[in-house]
Symmetry: C2
Subunit: 133 residues, 2 copies
């Protein structure tokens, strides 16, 4: 994928928002579990394609965020999909360590609405203190 | 779920953006396929919970959008999940007709990036002209 030039039709087709961003959903290609949602700008997307690993744009830190740069929990890209409005991307990935969330869980979506409460239903696979050392 | 009062802790926990919206990912509870992404405000979410069917906020039309109101392709809610940042929701749904996209496909994410092109890889299940009569 590293041979894709930056200014091509496929890139122009993507509808980035007025801040130059598009939401990207990371989905585990094996379990089909939705792992997380983050944001990408053009540079993040091109870097993702060039490296084969998910690279997002951190809105809080205002810089590229190589997923796994601290935790080691990289996401290896298997497929990139675009929706009919061209304003949301799916990254189908292999999740290194089986952990996408900073809480040490597989997915960031570990809470379910149940009887008027957000119940945590997924286990911590590895405690954050052991991940971020 | 219709007994949930509107002003409770679970609702206050959700981080709506500065326009009062949160992205909602609809995922097919059977196939695990990601069907679409749309937006919800508080009213859309409360109406979704009260009716048991997905109701979104249409940003283009600036009004509630009962998914399937024209197509008949409603989404029956099985589960609602929230991510660790509390700013993205997943609706796990039963998709009526097996079609979520206005193009007549199962999912809005029917294009895959391949050799620098967005390739359509999913079939039209029912032509739009037959859906929107």
């Amino acid at each position: 994928m590293s041979s894709i030039p930056p200014d091509t039709d496929w890139l122009a087709e993507i509808q980035f928002d007025n801040q130059g961003l598009i939401p990207a959903i990371a989905q585990d290609a094996s379990s089909e579990r939705i792992l997380m949602v983050a944001w990408m700008n053009k540079e993040a997307l091109l870097t993702t394609l060039a490296t084969g690993h998910a690279v997002y744009w951190s809105r809080s830190r205002q810089k590229l965020w190589h997923k796994g740069e601290e935790s080691g929990h990289q996401q290896i890209i298997e497929e990139v999909r675009l929706d009919c409005d061209s304003d949301v991307i799916i990254l189908r990935v292999q999740q290194t360590g089986g952990i996408a969330c900073h809480t040490g869980r597989q997915s960031c979506f570990y809470r379910v609405l149940n009887n008027g409460e957000w119940q945590t239903v997924d286990p911590v696979i590895k405690p954050p203190a052991e991940i971020y050392t």
